[in-house]
């Protein structure tokens, strides 16, 4: 099929639908990158996912989408549940098409045959996706790209819940309203998996439940409403 040349009529921060021609690349000297949800075919850029078209300053266009189903890609930080142990590897459920594998020795910093982390079946791990392809099992490691264990590894206690990817992405941003507002009242630790799983741990059960329900409810609220909601919840 051929692509008809169409003039894009509107700018950034608009809703785009799959198949919609978002723009044309006129000037090839300017370095532009097209990220999530955009496909470039010769000079034409087409949206492949429904979402809001965004632009980030060093020249990246992407669509801000929201879905519940997780499709793994390399470099994603995810929370997984240990399903089984097969020899030196763990089979981990990260909520995608297949279970991922996490090597007990190669996936951890400073682990050897004699000295390895013991995580029970059913335990939670915070890991990074190293191999992700639609035909293969994804692979994880509990280290960042330079081999440091920087916060990865098993998550103890606390409570985990599932959410949509949009909410997970919002929580991952540094100025996420909900986490900052909650943090000003309650001390808690949180691990956000881009696969739509969020882990929360706090001093008491009541606080953890409060944080969990606030985050879940904040998905479709704007910052003002979020602050109001947190205020009401804290005061009761």
């Amino acid at each position: 099929w051929t692509i008809k040349y169409m003039e894009p009529t509107r700018g950034v921060d608009r809703v785009v639908f799959p198949g919609e021609i978002v723009g044309n690349v006129h000037d090839r000297t300017v370095p532009l990158r097209f990220g999530h949800g955009l496909i470039q075919k010769k000079d034409v850029v087409i949206a492949s996912k429904a979402g809001i078209l965004r632009y980030k300053t060093p020249g990246i266009y992407f669509t801000e989408t929201n879905q519940k189903r997780y499709v793994p890609s390399v470099g994603d930080l995810v929370i997984g549940i240990i399903e089984a142990r097969k020899g030196d590897e763990w089979t981990v459920d990260i909520g995608c098409h297949q279970h991922a594998t996490l090597h007990q020795i190669e996936g951890f910093e400073g682990a050897t045959k004699k000295n390895r982390k013991i995580i029970p079946v059913g335990g939670l791990v915070y890991a990074r996706v190293t191999v992700a392809s639609r035909d293969m099992e994804p692979e994880l490691q509990c280290m960042n790209s330079s081999g440091r264990s920087a916060g990865f590894g098993p998550l103890e206690n606390g409570y985990m819940f599932k959410c949509s990817q949009g909410l997970a992405r919002k929580c991952l941003s540094a100025n996420s309203t909900i986490l900052n507002t909650l943090g000003s009242y309650i001390p808690f630790e949180v691990a956000v998996g881009i696969n739509g799983k969020i882990w929360v741990n706090s001093g008491s059960i009541r606080e953890t439940i409060l944080v969990t329900n606030s985050i879940i409810n904040s998905e479709h609220m704007d910052p003002e409403q979020i602050r109001e909601m947190v205020n009401t919840l804290i005061n009761t």
Partner: protein, 376 residues
């Protein structure tokens, strides 16, 4: 209760939920004895109900048909309950035959209605030996987020009260079935509203939790369901396996279930009355009461006003023997009374059977069910 294909629950969540329940808290912020929010919406036709209990969602479609009765039961109509476990509701359902839980669910609902004589098959007779009504309820599970039993029970009784069958006139041998435009459709004779209240059992039988959601359902060590109506009549108890309960807990739970049934009945009647009002049909003869649980407006945009509107009154036929559950104050004595009550109700059923002199019915329900055995 676990299933290979279902979403796994991590150890962290398991520990957290059990600890929270031990501290009288639940993960969605409810109290131990709170139901999730109930939302009842009606479709365009009578008897089409969608019930949402929290995130659990079901759709019920009621239809009727004129059929021939069984030769050994010439004056009895039929009630068919068909539950369709859609795979889109939960990964544990696939297109195969319903599993143990599915069969149990169907039996609890049907038993709660038949054996308490809420549904009257004799009232469905048109011409003896030739024509009877067959009422069919198709329950579609759309979302399974825990406690399907209560959700289906609420939906079934709402659909039965909401449904209207075509009016008919009998002139000798000829039966004329009137269309909805011709004559206003007629309600079924449902005598009362038995509603199921399910408790999840935690902490080795020490803690009971009302309306468990799906995570709690997977972690509970047993389940007990009470079927009660607003007149304090116990229509059934179901406890299939699981951790044992002390008799104090069983009696306490029955009291809690009674309160819940009262609230639920108010909500259901309010919802039905609101919808019937929109359709221009005379409401059920229940006083409109303030409800605690939110009700939903009807979806039907068109309200039919019938010309030559004939007033239809809904008779509440009372069951002849209404055995009241005695107030539970003294455990030992009360438990004996409770046991005699159960024994009495069984005796009544047997007497009815002997009077009818019926042969074995395919849909006969096995009498040696859990409702007559007591847990000690």
């Amino acid at each position: 209760m676990s299933h290979k294909r279902d979403d796994p629950i991590s150890l962290n969540e398991q520990q957290f939920i059990k600890q929270a329940i031990a501290e009288q808290m639940r993960i969605d912020g409810r109290g131990l004895y709170d139901f999730r929010s109930l939302k009842i919406t009606f479709g365009d036709s009578f008897g089409k109900v969608q019930v949402q209990l929290g995130r659990t969602r079901i759709l019920i479609v009621t239809s009727c048909e004129v059929v021939e009765p069984y030769p050994d039961r010439p004056t009895e109509g039929f009630f068919h309950f068909n539950i369709n476990f859609s795979p889109m509701s939960s990964p544990i359902f696939d297109d195969s035959r319903p599993d143990e839980y599915g069969v149990e669910l169907g039996r609890i609902i049907e038993r709660g209605l038949r054996e308490s004589r809420a549904i009257d098959t004799e009232g469905l007779c048109i011409v003896a030996n030739e024509k009877v009504w067959s009422i069919r309820l198709d329950i579609h599970i759309i979302d399974h987020c825990g406690n399907l039993i209560d959700c289906c029970s609420i939906g079934t009784i709402t659909a039965l009260h909401h449904f209207r069958r075509p009016d008919l006139t009998i002139q000798g041998e000829n039966v004329t079935i009137h269309s909805a435009d011709d004559r206003e459709p007629v309600p079924l004779s449902i005598h009362h509203m038995p509603i199921c209240v399910t408790f999840g059992i935690f902490d080795e039988g020490n803690i009971l939790v009302v309306d468990p959601n799906w995570k709690e359902e997977k972690l509970m060590s047993g389940r007990i369901t009470y079927t009660l109506n607003i007149h304090k009549e116990l229509c059934g108890i179901q406890k299939a396996g699981g951790d044992s309960l002390s008799m104090q807990h069983i009696l306490d739970a029955a009291k809690i279930a009674q309160v819940k049934v009262y609230e639920l009945t108010k909500a259901i009647k309010q919802a039905i009355n609101n919808d019937l009002e929109k359709r221009g049909v005379e409401q059920m003869n229940a006083a409109l009461m303030v409800t605690g649980i939110g009700t939903q407006e009807s979806e039907s945009g068109n309200v039919n006003f019938y010309d030559g509107y004939k007033s239809v009154s809904i008779k509440q036929e009372h069951i002849e023997e209404q055995i009241e559950i005695p107030k539970f104050t003294d455990t030992e004595k009360d438990f004996e009374e409770f046991a005699t009550y159960l024994a009495q109700s069984k005796v009544t059923v047997v007497k009815e059977e002997e009077m009818k002199d019926a042969s074995l019915d395919e849909m006969d329900i096995d009498d040696s069910e859990e409702e007559t055995t007591t847990v000690l």
